[in-house]
Subunit: 327 residues, 2 copies
């Protein structure tokens, strides 16, 4: 197989601005969450935000960049328009060593963006205008690309786009039939709330590996606490990598429960991309067949790097940070 | 007068990427300089650059943002297209408190960009695609805007755009007639080489205050050293604020020569914008009628802030950094 991981998700350019908590409260936003906005609301929020920095983002795209930074071969499937943001998105993926060969759409909504407010506590609050991503559908899933990977990685956020759920099922079916492992990230507690049944069906039918944080996994199973949610995962038969912020992560399988500590960070600058990069480290190890505790440690390394600076993609070689773990 | 400073210059979005010296050498670029490139060459260079970050830039625009950060009232005149980069440029200026009311062009080249390679020594090497800025001309100079400022600030880089030299003369004439002080920055040694006579004519006829570094001022007068250049400025009658990197700056008038030390910086991250922000501090003081050594010190403060992080605009309040100097 040509690629370690093939990712499918939104194509977004992040627009990051530092603001205080009062700004977040004043706009009625829930700190730490992701809210979908239409073009008009995106324009309104952008007008209120301070001077910004633009960096390519998109959850699964960040993860693919992380996989590549660990030395893995990664490919991405997503939808951009033929505009300046789309050009930047493609450039930054390719410059990071990730394959992205999907032609740009020549009509329809502009390339999506994610307006991110970073508060002084380093927490990020996101407002996503899906743009071109909203039309990602089954026709955008090239079976030869899916079958070129060892692992197919699906971004839960894309569930908000109406045609994308069907695209995920299509892609997952190709993968299952071709012996490609299927991983999914639940992305956001509110996103899980919006699409609980569809997530459960997908996981039940097709998924080998689930990424989630505490809020997402408890929301998925409608249970009160993390232990109960972990039990539910265990019965289900898939592997779950459950992140707990500063408390590290827990990897749950049918017969194991592995606790992995977080890596210490001198100064947390911006938590944007923490989950994406944890998944990158995990997948870099998983696609190489490394033991699960090593996968988790690689996830911790990547997450620690990305929260130590502004932006959701690594700024140094994760391969080098991994040292002997990838020897 | 409504504004402390009215700036005229290029509208550029900076595209910043970290690369090593071999990258700069391999492309035949002169480290630390600015090279003009056409759209094709810009595309070629962008394709070779690593993952990038986009931030609004433009030399005089950066200076206006600095003036605003010192609490000054600033207005900008420039040309953008109605595209995504133009929208970002306008947003970031306004969000920083700088007025920018020029309507976007609906045809012609796209909004300009500056591809900036930052090497490990924090030096920046710039490749500018002027884009929409290339058509800035006399018709873009609104006399009422020029006359609304105490100081008119002209960006030397704009001399590379054919119609802009005429626009500068037009703007400077309005300013001279209306009692508005005229300041110009020489911007770049190669830029001075390309337009020496035009710069000398402009300064001779219209200018009260010149900003330059050592390379630029010696190039302007075709002399060998800084002392000789300073003598030439002195005979000329205008004030010159001459920057010398880590050695600080020297302010030359007909009967004074004031040395101003640079402010120490714990870690120089990226020198992009150092000259722009020195000018911002100087103009913030000059437009308030403060003594020249205070103007220079404000310049040192702003330059020190901007070289301590990636990007050419301040990330904290310069008014607060100035403390008692602006009390």
């Amino acid at each position: 197989m040509q690629f370690d991981v093939v990712g499918i998700g939104n194509a977004l350019v992040d627009v990051l601005s530092h603001q205080d908590d009062a700004f977040v409260d004043g706009l009625g936003l829930t700190k730490g969450s992701m809210t979908l906005v239409d073009e008009e609301r995106a324009g309104e929020l952008y007008g209120l935000m301070g001077p910004a920095v633009e960096m390519s983002g998109g959850s699964a795209a960040n993860t693919m960049v992380g996989v590549a930074s660990f030395g893995g071969a990664a490919q991405y499937l997503s939808r951009v328009r033929d505009d300046q943001l789309g050009t930047a998105f493609r450039h930054d993926l390719r410059a990071a060593g990730v394959g992205f060969d999907v032609p740009a759409a020549t009509a329809g909504p502009s390339t999506g963006c994610c307006l991110i407010v970073v508060t002084p506590d380093a927490e990020r609050t996101m407002n996503t205008y899906l743009g071109a991503s909203v039309h990602f559908g089954p026709d955008d899933v090239d079976p030869s690309v899916v079958l070129s990977g060892k692992v197919l990685y699906l971004e839960g956020y894309l569930f908000d786009a109406p045609e994308a759920q069907q695209a995920f099922r299509t892609a997952a079916r190709y993968a299952n039939e071709g012996g490609v492992k299927v991983a999914v990230t639940l992305s956001d507690g509110f996103c899980v709330d919006r699409h609980r049944d569809a997530f459960l069906d997908l996981i039940e039918d097709h998924v080998d590996l689930v990424f989630a944080n505490e809020a997402e996994i408890t929301s998925l199973f409608g249970v009160d606490d993390f232990v109960e949610a972990a039990e539910r995962v265990r019965k289900h038969g898939s592997i779950a990598a459950l992140t707990r912020s500063a408390a590290g992560s827990v990897i749950v399988t049918e017969d194991e429960l592995i606790e992995v500590p977080a890596r210490p960070v001198a100064h947390v600058e911006d938590t944007t991309g923490a989950g994406d990069l944890y998944a990158a480290g995990f997948l870099a190890g998983y696609s190489r067949g490394l033991p699960l505790h090593v996968c988790g440690e690689l996830g911790s390394i990547a997450a620690a790097e990305v929260i130590s600076h502004l932006g959701a993609r690594p700024q140094v070689s994760l391969r080098e940070l991994a040292g002997d773990l990838l020897a």
